[in-house]
């Protein structure tokens, strides 16, 4: 059993108000090490479970899905990786 992981993040130049809210809330809630954090960015993670090792065809298809559905290339970037 392996997982194909797709991680989607907003591009650095795109405003992330959710990340900003998290960044300002954490120190307020007592997580003091976040006081010195330069920023917090929030993203999405998709886990696709497959039986056995992912085949090249599966990976190619996930790549295509990541580019067309799971992320919006106008505002987001993605990476695909495998976890065993």
């Amino acid at each position: 059993m392996a997982k194909i992981i797709v991680e989607v993040m907003l591009k650095p130049e795109i405003l992330d108000p959710q990340g900003q809210a998290v960044a300002s809330a954490l120190p307020r809630l007592g997580f003091t090490s976040f006081k010195t954090a330069k920023s917090v960015r929030q993203g999405k993670r998709f886990e696709i479970e497959v039986a056995g090792d992912p085949t090249p065809a599966q990976l190619a298809e996930v790549e295509k899905a990541a580019e067309t559905l799971l992320s919006n290339p106008v505002i987001e970037t993605y990476i695909v990786k495998i976890e065993k």
Binding site: L10, E13, I14, L15, P17, Q18, A21, L69, L70, N72, V74, I75
Partner: protein
Amino acid sequence: MSFRIGVVTFPGSLDDRDAARAVEMAGGIAVPLFHASDDLKEVQAVVLPGGFSYGDYLRCGAIARFAPIMNSIVTAANHGFPVLGICNGFQVLCESHLLPGALTRNSNLHFLCRDQKLKIENTNTMWTTGFKQDQEILIPLKNGEGSFQCDDETLNALESEGRVIARYVDFDPNGSRNLIAGISNERGNVVGLMPHPEHAIESLTGPSTDGLTFFTSVLHQLVGR
């Protein structure tokens, strides 16, 4: 003669009835279109209404883009067929790449519902010819993800080509770049607008009747074809 204007219902659309009503008030025939069919039913223009298609899962408009009706609409729009996307409809148009950019979470993270003043800056699109240049209108704005974002190159193109059709006035509701409330494609047949003209067609229920002009504009344009 009167023209047939389709209004698409996706799972989670909210404002399809109001949009259909606005079409009828403007003098058109509103034709309900369904997301799961690719049949445009011989309509001469289409409105993608507001709401939360597919629950806004993944990203607003991201799943609606793959609905069968959208294949027909994208093909037709590339041949000059008029399309107006309102709110969620605007998001669907961006996800479908009929319009550039994307709509992201409001900068203050709050869902916002207010009567919003706009300035109409392009009166040459299929949907805005009835307005006067720089006319100020007041229509409802209600969304959580209305912040228009795009890269600098796209922003420069939109500005220099006059494709910003409406801009927020007096108040920045969501952090949109350059206070952009609505844009058009290069040809001017596809327009996306975050605020809701279909809720401003009667004085009983709307802050004005300014919204009706979007619908009368396209009907006049269709007559001229």
